[in-house]
Symmetry: C2
Subunit: 341 residues, 2 copies
């Protein structure tokens, strides 16, 4: 079946809701698609129940658990994309199962941490307010840091391509030599610790890998006759690098909540889809207030070339009903905006 220039293998159900993909690819949408970072998370009682008896990595290694957790928010809210519940180490089978169980309802997003973010976790050995140990490495051992970042870049490229390829392998017989439907329909790279770097260190130690990953993933998919998937870069607190991020080879730039929507549009140009950026704490507000904030955000970004999301992951103590209010408000207000324009 021809779909976005690719053949959907019999194994995977046809995609019913393409709004997210259309926005990511810069096409017109009827309404603004919406999903939430960390939507498969601790704020859901069913998530806490499923996870209760399990260690984090044990959960990540169980395809059934990952699938269950990935789908939980979709059962509650009319989200326009799912994001795999996973860690960088998760095995691809998790993903296959999830894709089947999604029943083509919405696209499935794969992801990875970006090299600097992974490096900082590796060196800090856990969380840190300042990332001072990891940053000390950049200042003291720039060459060794570059080697580590290059190594991580290689791993991430393979990991992301592997996620897409795993899906295509299901359709080898009919798909050989042809573009087949990918396992995942989009990829997001999280540079969660960008804000610890200033503009110079970001330009030296983060941006080159971010660029390289986009380029190499796309080339590798092409080489392997796999379909292209839109890629999202989310570099949290990298306000100083918006222009560079818009030019770094990704279809979508994710934004945190400290960026003014109008400024973001102006600084990134018209050829990019923006994603974000409601303050996750705004979901503590009463539902009517959430509606007002969403309306303002949509007016700032415009309803096209835009994927609504939070500016950071969902916090564990957010009331699920308020997440629903957020999702509904995006759909309602964007349809209204589209009608008016």
């Amino acid at each position: 079946m021809e779909k976005n220039g690719s053949i959907v293998p019999a194994e995977f159900p046809e995609l019913k809701n393409e709004t997210f993909l259309r926005a990511a690819q810069g096409e017109q949408t009827e309404y603004t698609p919406v999903w939430c970072m960390r939507q498969a998370g601790r704020y859901l009682p069913e998530f806490r129940e499923t996870r209760a008896a399990q260690d984090f990595f044990a959960t990540c290694r169980s395809p059934e658990m990952c699938c269950e957790l990935t789908l939980q928010p979709l059962w509650r809210f009319p989200l326009d994309a799912a994001i795999i519940f996973s860690d960088i180490l998760v095995v691809p089978q998790a993903i296959t199962l999830t894709r089947h169980k999604l029943e083509g309802k919405v696209p499935l997003i794969g992801f990875s941490g970006a090299p600097w973010t992974l490096m900082s976790y590796m060196i800090e050995g856990g969380g840190s307010n300042t990332m001072a140990k990891a940053k000390a490495w950049l200042y003291r051992h720039p060459e060794a840091s570059h080697r580590l970042l290059t190594l991580l870049t290689d791993v991430i490229v393979d990991y992301l391509v592997g996620q897409v390829a795993a899906g295509a392998q299901g359709g080898t017989e009919e798909g050989r030599g042809l573009k087949v439907a990918p396992m995942l329909q989009a990829l997001q790279l999280f540079e969660s610790h960008a804000g610890h770097l200033g503009p110079e260190q970001f330009a030296e130690f983060a941006l080159p890998s971010i660029r390289s990953i986009a380029k190499r993933v796309k080339n590798k998919l092409l080489e392997d006759a796999l379909p292209a998937v839109p890629m999202i870069i989310f570099a949290k607190d990298a306000h100083y690098a918006l222009e560079d991020l818009a030019q770094s080879g990704y279809e979508v730039v994710g934004l945190d909540w400290t960026i003014c929507p109008q400024d973001a549009r102006q600084r990134t140009g018209k050829d990019i889809t923006l994603q974000g950026n409601l303050d996750p704490c705004a979901l503590y507000a009463p539902k009517e207030k959430i509606g007002e904030l969403v309306k303002k955000m949509l007016e700032g970004f415009g309803s096209q070339r835009y994927i609504a999301n939070l500016g950071h992951g969902l916090y564990p103590d957010i009331c699920p009903e308020h997440v629903g209010a957020f999702v509904d408000a995006v759909h309602i207000h964007s349809r209204h905006l589209n009608k008016c324009s």
Copy 2:
């Protein structure tokens, strides 16, 4: 003795190094003055020794201890300003003693946390990565939040004016009805948690108090026939509000290390002194590298209308020698820049 339009009372020695004050007031300086946020801190072995047996608030309540800790970095490095080692609750006597012991070497800076930062500490009851509890208050109880912020604004105005006034009282006999030398020669307001707010919440819950504090402190000093002192606003991670901060009534705007110096100059205009913004982690670098980074920073800001500093407080594991290298590099390179221009 006439000095900056004020009479220095006999009790306080005449100020020998006015470079910091000249820069803060927008006057030409021979070199760029420099001090470090948290320069009286744990990175100094003598600080750890003095503080070892003491609880933090006990230390803050002891004028002798505060004085000792404030002066320690001055004995080591040719810094151009001292900042009182203190907390918002410290009693003014601490300050009197310190001012005497400083022997007029450099100006003494008083400070306070800004209302939103104090409110967030009050609500969180400690540190937090997200300030989610405090931000939930802003979203759920905006009116109560405004009342609390107004209350804190009142306290901070009194506290800051009190610090300046305490010095003038020493010179009452000769100074009555005249402007007398202030206890503190500058005031810095720390909005350390600005980055947790987005542009809208900052505009609603932080900026009005910041503006009000500058205006009311200045008016109160004038009313009480106290001399004006330059005021510094440091709103960490408030990249989205630079233009507003430059217009908020302060002589100096402090910057964190995520702001590019050239952009800051362009966005804040020529009528403001900028302060900052070396990444504190840059002090982990070898000394030659620190020199290079300082040179670049000075070239970005220019050597005039500029006070060199870090973009955040000194970290406890920084080698004191590297702090010395930073201070020296500012003095050397700025003198050189001044010669060349």
